[in-house]
């Protein structure tokens, strides 16, 4: 069953002058952790704001748990929790005031004490006096405390130390394993690689790719560098091989996909200082942005 279905979502601002997202189609299954990737201004936050009914789509539809994100927004918000990329709360309220206020609207949280302990939050301090990490902890606890069915998280690990990042990522994995769905927007490709089942890459408001992490890994690229005397580099040319530089026998290649044909060719010649670097998800992500 699809937990989230976005069809032909477009959003323009200032009439039709500014295009934020265009014809975005997404289907996210229940129990899935979906990573939404893209640089600033690509349309990630606008897509999320349409899902949360903060902004209204110019065209297209969003269904969450089978309900319309706009018409059924009140019912949906009792099933969804949202974590904004920046913590905007009341400076003069304590963390505890925020937690109490939310409980007055969404009911008492049976797991609140555990979450406070797990994320080590001092709930007695005023929001203005919390460190950026503690502000983030409060946002996370507010998002998790009412045990939603869907979590929509915008840059969730921002400002968290590595230990708490790990705690949150483990929590999200367990949440998804128990049937919860996570829609996660992030710049942190390492964390996306660690926990997401699938990712969507958005560029200039358009979804350019939706892949499973394993498929993306198959698209991995390699940086190969070595030194070889009197080599005609043209002999190394392959469909998936780009000769980046050739300076006095110091050669750099970029290989997308299968590296074996190149390795076989290099095995037949005398090379020195051979280095093969496995590029990260980040390089793949950047590759999408070159297109």
């Amino acid at each position: 069953m699809n937990a989230i279905e976005i069809k032909k979502l477009s959003k323009y601002f200032l009439g039709r002058k500014v295009q934020a997202v265009r014809d975005v189609d997404l289907e996210i299954k229940q129990g899935e952790i979906f990573g939404f990737l893209g640089p600033n201004g690509a349309g990630k936050t606008t897509t999320i704001r349409c899902m949360m009914d903060f902004v209204r789509p110019s065209s297209g539809s969003i269904k969450i748990l089978g309900l319309d994100a706009q018409k059924d927004s009140v019912i949906l918000k009792s099933k969804i929790s949202y974590l904004s990329d920046t913590a905007h709360f009341y400076n003069h309220w304590t963390a505890s005031n925020h937690l109490d206020f939310q409980q007055s609207l969404r009911g008492k949280s049976p797991i609140l004490k555990d979450l406070i302990k797990k994320f080590d939050l001092n709930a007695k301090l005023r929001f203005a006096n919390l460190s950026s990490g503690n502000k983030r902890k409060l946002s996370i606890i507010l998002a998790l405390m009412n045990e939603p069915e869907i979590l929509i998280l915008d840059e969730p690990t921002n400002a968290l130390d590595p230990l708490l990042q790990n705690t949150l990522l483990t929590y999200l994995k367990d949440f998804a394993a128990a049937g919860g769905t996570v829609f996660l927007s992030s710049h942190n490709l390492a964390e996306v690689e660690k926990i997401c089942h699938r990712v969507g890459i958005i560029k200039d408001g358009k979804l350019v790719a939706t892949e499973t992490i394993s498929n993306l890994k198959q698209m991995k690229m390699y940086d190969v560098s070595f030194h070889a005397e009197n080599l005609d580099v043209k002999t190394l040319e392959e469909k998936n091989t780009e000769i980046v530089s050739n300076l006095n026998g110091s050669i750099k290649l970029k290989i997308k996909g299968d590296i074996n044909p190149t390795i076989a060719k290099l095995a037949k010649i005398e090379v020195k200082d051979l280095e093969i670097a496995h590029v990260s998800l980040e390089d793949i992500f950047l590759e999408f942005y070159k297109k």
Binding site: F13, R49, M52, D53, F54, V55, R56, S73, V74, I75, K77, S78, I80, S81, Y82, S84, T86, H88, F89, Y90, F101, Q102, S104, L105, R106, L142
Partner: protein, 269 residues
């Protein structure tokens, strides 16, 4: 909804208490001074008669005001000619701007709208909480005259203060409704306060000009200052046209604001 109303009342209570204290202190001052002023009323009456009639009218006074110098006449020329209206304007414009555009400006609106409550419920919850606070302020600024007058053994006419309360509440709610409508459209608190204050100032200017220039007398109907307090403090009762105008402003701008707030995109930076 009740939680939003109650939280907002708690949130704004300090500023409202400050306005109430200042307003009541002014009232106290006038009531306390009244016995000695009454004793000097004949001399003051001569001074008033020497002033231009138009100016006195604009200030809510009349040349023969001191012929029958009452507490109501004193309050009509002092507290309720401008002071009360300024307090109400500052209070209502501040509340309206904070209630919607202030939340958008600070980004807290996302936290509020991510809760399971419809935009309309949120909109009316904030309206109701502001109405409760305004009612408390207006009640304190009008009805407390009676116990203060009793304290200083000053004669007063009770029904005048009840009328003042009712009409003052309508006047204040009308100001709030207009500013709240602006707040529903805008994402900047300063913009709401600026536009509301600008219109308020223009209306006061219109009222003054209409009083000073006989040929421009009719433009007084364009100013809310004409309808409140009107002739209440002279014992003339509430201006019925004013009541209708206040009610129309309240209903019209509150409904328009609701419609806009329900439909608009809410984006924070």
């Amino acid at each position: 909804m009740i939680s939003i109303i109650w939280t907002n009342i708690k949130e704004r209570k300090t500023s409202v208490i400050i306005y109430i204290v200042i307003s009541v202190l002014f009232l106290w001052l006038y009531v306390a001074l009244f016995p000695s002023l009454q004793a000097q009323s004949q001399a003051l009456g001569a001074v008033l008669k020497s002033m231009p009639e138009g100016l006195l009218k604009a200030l809510g006074s009349a040349p023969d005001q001191l012929n029958n110098f009452t507490l109501e006449a004193l309050l009509g020329s002092k507290q309720f000619s401008m002071t009360f209206q300024i307090f109400v304007a500052i209070l209502t414009f501040g509340l309206a701007a904070s209630d919607l555009s202030g939340e958008i400006e600070s980004g807290t609106i996302e936290y509020l709208l991510s809760q399971p409550i419809s935009r309309l419920k949120f909109y009316f919850a904030r309206f109701i909480s502001a109405f409760i606070l305004i009612t408390i302020f207006v009640a304190a600024s009008t009805l407390l005259v009676m116990p203060l007058a009793t304290l200083y053994h000053v004669a007063y006419v009770p029904h005048i203060y009840w009328e003042l309360f009712a009409d003052g509440l309508l006047f204040s709610t009308a100001l709030y409704s207009f500013a709240y409508f602006l707040s529903a459209m805008s994402s900047a608190k300063g913009q709401v306060i600026g536009i509301s204050t600008g219109i308020f100032t223009v209306m006061y200017g219109v009222f003054i000009v209409s009083a000073l220039k006989d040929n421009l007398d009719k433009i007084k109907y364009l100013s809310l200052f004409h309808y409140f307090p009107g002739e209440i403090l002279n014992g003339g009762g509430i201006d019925k046209l004013g009541v209708w105008i206040f009610i129309i402003i309240i209903v019209l701008f509150t409904a328009l604001g609701a419609l806009i707030f329900k439909k608009r995109d809410i984006t924070i930076s």
